[in-house]
Amino acid sequence: MKTRTINIQEALDRLQTAAKQLERPVTFMEVCGTHTMSAFRCGLHSLMPENVTLLSGPGCPVCVTSQGDIDLLIEVTVKNNVTLCTYGDMMRVPGQLGSLEQARSHGADVQVIYSAMDAMQLAQQHPEKEVVFAAIGFETTTPPTAVAVTEAKKLGLKNFTVLVSHKLVIPAMTALLEGVDVNVDGFLCPGHVSVIIGSEVYRPIVDKYKKRCVISGFEDVHMTAALARITEQARDNQILLENLYPQAVTPKGNQVALDLIFKIFEPADMSWRGLTQLPKSGLKLRKEYEDFDAELRFGLVSRETPEPAGCRCGDVITGRCQPDECKLFSKVCTPVHPIGPCMVSSEGTCQAWFKYHQPQSRLRKKVAL
């Protein structure tokens, strides 16, 4: 415990020192829900220098899912009499037909699972049920979906399909940078996703878009060290790709997982909340696996449905506004009665703000470490 505290103190000191030497205020963005939550949980924001801002980008899988895809998910559950298997975070996201939690209270068969294989096995054990797995998430949750589909094909399952909403991180970061109104000085890149995709894929963001990229783990000490390093880069006018999570992230990533992903899936255009439709930013099942595509099985058509009136989740996850700049935040939109997905997911920026972030005036003076 003691060693860890000293490391954090060293990282904090480096961050403070570098921040003092900055010529202008800087803004960095993390693009990972786990980073968002970890930063708030450990109180990192309360220790940040005034001239360094850390924004949360499109990293929470629930939050980036478009309203149309959420409605599709709830529609298939309510209208097609299926057993829907979902990760827990999706349960309370409001759609036009209500949330999955509410659908369950009206008799729909909705099951919270921890892995795609759980859904596949449920289908295997219950041939009488039509099981649909809501496949959301970035490169970290995609390999398990690919394994489940591979197994289902091997077993010849006829009652298992996947509603695919898997997304890719790099196109989202690129789209943000192509936008005119989002200005960041660099990214804290997600540790888990980078384990799969590797560190070199961030190279174009550094070379072409001239944005710093520092890959970070998830513990308080990892994030502080990464923040210190990226601030030092800014101070020294450097724009570099650095991997501060080398114990898990290699330059080329996990080739086995990548091969698996692209054996089952191929890149596809995908709608994102806050970013609209981005070319080749998501995944769809390859033709050989389309028997497992819930959209085809049930004739589902994804529509562009409007986001809830007044909800600024799209702006929040693209760094265009902070949660408290949304008129609904903490007034009508709360974790108990959420309006947008960022207030629902435990990785959502709005929920993290609501739960953990309060104006400094409400907190007592800082204690010495």
Partner: protein
């Protein structure tokens, strides 16, 4: 092949018409249900206080009464089972109210088809836990429902106890300078159950902490009047208790994360399931609010008991009247604690 049930979209009012699982999670949604449906119809001076036990006055003596239902799945998990839980939960609610348990009732709802062997195991476990607590099951009720109407066994226990020192414990007695003490490591119970339910293939040394705390608590309260409030951090965990304490006392409370006892295996399980140990249920823990000058004495007394060997101070009460609970994190940052919403949903990555 696919049957299609055409359903018209639900209006917002219809969407919220029904009970959802999270209403039973012991968080904000449970509070909302109690406040909007139960209290307006049944509220009275005793019930509205919403403490762990009701305090009843009779001929100058005070009695505590409490009730709790148990629907845990799986019925058996490392360290405990539904029977042990049903005894400990109610005993502890009496004990934290300063009451000596006099007797317990046991209501059982059994599903048709339940193996008698399973029932025997559960009852044996009830007997064992009651024996540890030094209390008897003095009355009971048994009902059986269709196999699809219940999930194995549901239990309800009600307890009555005598309060030795009347009017000793209440959140309104909390003052600046008081310290907050817990008797040992947090979050073991909730995570042991979650692991057993969600990841049965994972081997872990983690065990539920379910234990009757009446002897431990009595060993303290019989020796000092320094304890002003107690609560067992069950659903909603330590966060739920301290947030409510801040709200009901109206003072600013500071918890120190680095002082919070947490086993490494519990932390690992929490990380794996994406849960915050502070919000996870305990069944053998008590949070005590103690006058500052009695801190050492209370700790010494707790440390002498097997269930209090790892007792420590985790926070204190400050003089600001803002009803906020603040966590000082290990890395020296600060954040506000808020009561969880309802059921803890696992994160996805």
């Amino acid at each position: 092949m696919i049957t299609t049930t055409q359903t018209t979209p639900l209006t917002p009012a219809q969407q919220k018409r029904k009970i959802v699982l999270a209403h039973g999670g012991g968080g904000q949604l449970t509070d909302e249900l109690i406040d909007s449906i139960v209290l307006p119809r049944l509220g009275n001076q005793v019930l509205t206080d919403l403490l762990d036990s009701a305090v009843l006055n009779q001929n100058g003596r005070q009695f505590a009464m409490t009730t709790d239902s148990f629907v845990v799945q799986p019925l058996f998990f490392p360290g405990a089972d539904i029977g042990r839980l049903a005894v400990c939960g109610t005993i502890n609610d009496l004990a934290v109210s300063g009451a000596k348990p006099m007797g317990l009732s046991l209501g059982m709802i059994l599903a048709e088809g339940l193996e008698k062997k399973v029932l025997e195991q559960v009852i044996d476990s009830i007997a064992q836990a009651a024996n540890e607590a030094g209390v008897q099951i003095v009355t009971g009720d048994t009902k059986v429902v269709g196999s699809h109407q219940a999930d194995g066994i549901y239990l309800t226990t009600t307890g009555v106890g005598l309060i030795d020192k009347p009017n000793q414990l209440h959140p309104e007695k909390v003052q600046p300078g008081d310290v907050i003490i817990i008797n040992g490591p947090i979050a073991d119970h909730g995570l042991a159950v979650m692991l057993a339910r969600e990841m049965p293939q994972v081997e872990s040394v983690l065990k539920s902490d379910a234990a009757p705390l009446n002897h431990l608590i009595e060993s303290v309260t019989s020796q000092t009047d320094g304890v002003v409030f107690m609560r067992d951090p069950t659903r909603s965990g330590v966060t739920g208790v301290v947030v409510e304490l801040a709200q009901r006392s109206n003072y600013h409370i500071i918890l120190n994360e680095s002082n919070l006892p947490l086993r490494p295996e519990t932390q690992h399980a929490a990380d794996m399931l994406g849960l915050d140990p502070l919000e996870v249920a305990n069944e053998g823990k008590v949070i005590m609010v103690v006058r500052g000058k009695e801190e050492k004495k209370v700790l010494d007394l707790l440390n002498q008991h097997p269930l209090g060997k790892e007792a420590c101070v985790i926070g204190h009460v400050e003089s600001d009247k803002d009803a906020i609970c603040e966590l000082h994190t290990i890395m020296g940052g600060q954040r506000i604690l808020q009561k969880p919403y309802g059921e803890q949903l696992p994160r996805i990555c």
